[in-house]
């Protein structure tokens, strides 16, 4: 399986940086500000590459290694850009016992990428997630904000085709 992870160069704009700096200025004096700043930064850039972490470090005084430690600890922070469409398959227990594992396998096969990766054309990225709480619709997957429920393996092709 090929991975697109390291091939995308950082393309941050001055507007994004200005936005980030104003977030930092607003939050940096509150207790425990790092997490909220990182969450906003990821909203602005879509991911948290080292370049963004450096901006945060330089403007908050928090050492870069601590920021990197926090970014890599939490599943929601991503060091790599996401695809245009992020497909998340719920692998929570309720979905798993109803076969979401097979759906996840099928998507990996279909897209030719492993979980956590992005297709080379930047179109799709695939993630496993833990319970989005729509257990009544199990098994469930989401494509960006759209939720698809009560799925079978055969639905995978149709869903991908919708976005391709």
């Amino acid at each position: 399986m090929n991975s697109a992870k390291s091939t995308v160069p950082f393309k941050g704009t001055p507007e994004q940086e200005a936005q980030l700096l104003s977030v930092i200025a607003e939050k940096k004096d509150t207790q425990g500000a790092l997490m909220p700043i990182l969450q906003k930064a990821q909203e602005i850039y879509g991911y948290l590459p080292i370049e963004v972490q450096k901006i945060i470090s330089n403007n908050t005084g928090i050492p870069l290694e601590k920021i990197y430690g926090v970014v890599t600890f939490y599943a929601q922070f991503s060091l790599y850009p996401k695809g245009e469409y992020t497909i998340s398959v719920c692998l929570g227990t309720a979905c798993y016992v109803k076969g979401s594992g097979d759906i996840y396998d099928k998507l990996q096969e279909k897209l030719g990428i492993a979980g956590g990766e992005c297709t080379p054309d930047g179109k799709f990225s695939l993630d496993a997630c833990r319970c989005i709480g729509a257990c009544g619709l199990a098994p469930v997957l989401t494509v960006n904000e759209d939720v698809y429920g009560r799925l079978t393996v055969d639905d995978v092709d149709k869903i991908i085709a919708k976005y391709a």
């Binding site: 997490m35 939490y74 227990t93 199990a138």
Partner: protein, 632 residues
Amino acid sequence: MKTLEELNVVRDSLAGEVALRTHGNASSKYERHVLVCGGTGCTSSGSPKIIEKLNEEFAAKGLTDKVQIVKTGCFGLCERGPIMIVYPEGSFYSRVNVDEIPRIVDEHLIGGNPVKEFLYEETVDGDDIKALDDTSFYKKQHRVALRNCGVIDPENINEYIGRDGYQALGKVLTTMTPEDVIQTILDSGLRGRGGGGFPTGMKWKLARNIVPDADMKYVCCNADEGDPGAFMDRSVLEGDPHVVLEAMTIAGYAIGAKQGYIYVRAEYPIAVERLNIAIKQAREAGMLGKNIFGTDFSFDIDLRLGAGAFVCGEETALMTSIEGNRGEPRPRPPFPAEKGLFQKPTILNNVETYANIPQIILNGAEWFASMGTEKSKGTKVFALGGKIRNTGLVEVPMGTTLREVIEEIGGGIPNGKKFKAAQTGGPSGGCISPENFDIPIDYDNLIGIGSMMGSGGLIVMDEDNCMVDIAKFFLEFTVDESCGKCTPCRIGTKRMYEILDKITKGKGTLEDIDKLEELCYHIKANSLCGLGQTAPNPVLSTLRYFRDEYIAHVVDKKCPAGVCKDLLSFEIVKDSCIGCGMCAKQCPASAITRTDYIAPGKKLAAMEIDKTKCVKCGACIASCKFKAIIKK
């Protein structure tokens, strides 16, 4: 609002409106109320479009002033979503389709006759329509924590006040000392609903007294509901966010804190949005902020979002995360009551625990203690999921048996399959086998049978689920989520996963099972936090009740449930095969060929599978309409 009298004015102006939705015969400005579920489950299955369509129809047909549309929280029966209820009749429309709306509007909202064919079947009894409370799903439920979910508009503080919201806070601040509050909670017998079951009042008492001269204390709410398959906290936050704010403020008064934090999963966008709205409204109404109810007590609450780490549900890890660090747990003692958030005395309670507090204050400790079992008082919310008819959220008194929850409320197992196990407590809990079905559910009984209450996820499994595979599934989760700080959890769970993987691939030995069991006890005894200490539970409980399944994998190299692919073989039953050849067309490995054998009564020769070529994908089984292919 600065006084109870002002609060009562708001309550009285709304009481009729919200009462219409609970007992029907109340005075409302509107002829009818249409309640549409705006919880995550129903939103995912399309409730926003229903509201849109209703608005459109109302505008066209002049109903806007006659019928009120209320977007509520979760009704509980997620299986039947999207759900819409019309009051005063209490008509329960399930799996509502946008195309059905015009008819419902014309015949019911204008004509006054509920459209029976769109109603939840169980409420239709010949010509009669049964009340929702008489259906098997709702009959045995008793809603305390969920009392406002599916009744009020969570984005409107006044509706909450109309259901006696903030009365408890008013009572506490104007008539009770902090000691009285703590004593009431102690007397009620309320125990932590997040899983541990520690007495809530005791926690508060410690936090009040242990550091007498603390300059700052904190009240935290654990809304990091990471246990996969559990969604009761999310439903409370989505359906009744103010109850959490009110309870935290009461807790702040009781322990002497000025600041609260709610740590909520970022995966719950609707809950986050409603909490933000609720906090803003509570500040504007004077229920949060300085000098609440004109007293010298001040309290405020901030939200902190998690970022997808299961371990942050552990109390010390959660606090470390709020401080802006990697969410790693720290050793206890010191306990948070002494040194918690930012090294200050802190209490941390779970969402569902808080949701009980205002009711305990208003109705008294005795009322609460009259429900439940000797050592577990009150009710418990369970998220029913998996192989069960009525997936959804149920709240029952402690002491209800698993059989009642699964068979009566849950409606049993679909598709005529046999019940195999119920899993409670998520990755920290265990699997319960049918022989323990009649044990009353409470904290101590569940621990006695090798599981735990956990946050209340209840996943039902049938004969098609392999218990070794389930144990492996949970271990994969734990390996993924282990923070890596302590060795027993970081390395131990990984080794457990490897042994389980080996067993599911047919390479395990009896010795592996012994090793696995021994490893479980070491990890339990030596891990730093609850995550590691409970991680072996899924394995231990499946070993306890389903050991024969492990043995089958190891000795007979078979997976009795037909899940573990490496142990399966596919076979065509030649006498059932009509020779249509559909399976051969579907087979990606070209492993299916025609034989010379024509079964009696059939026209074409039967097919067969070359086991050396078969990749066990199961495509042939799915393609065979004659059930002639079996896996074993």
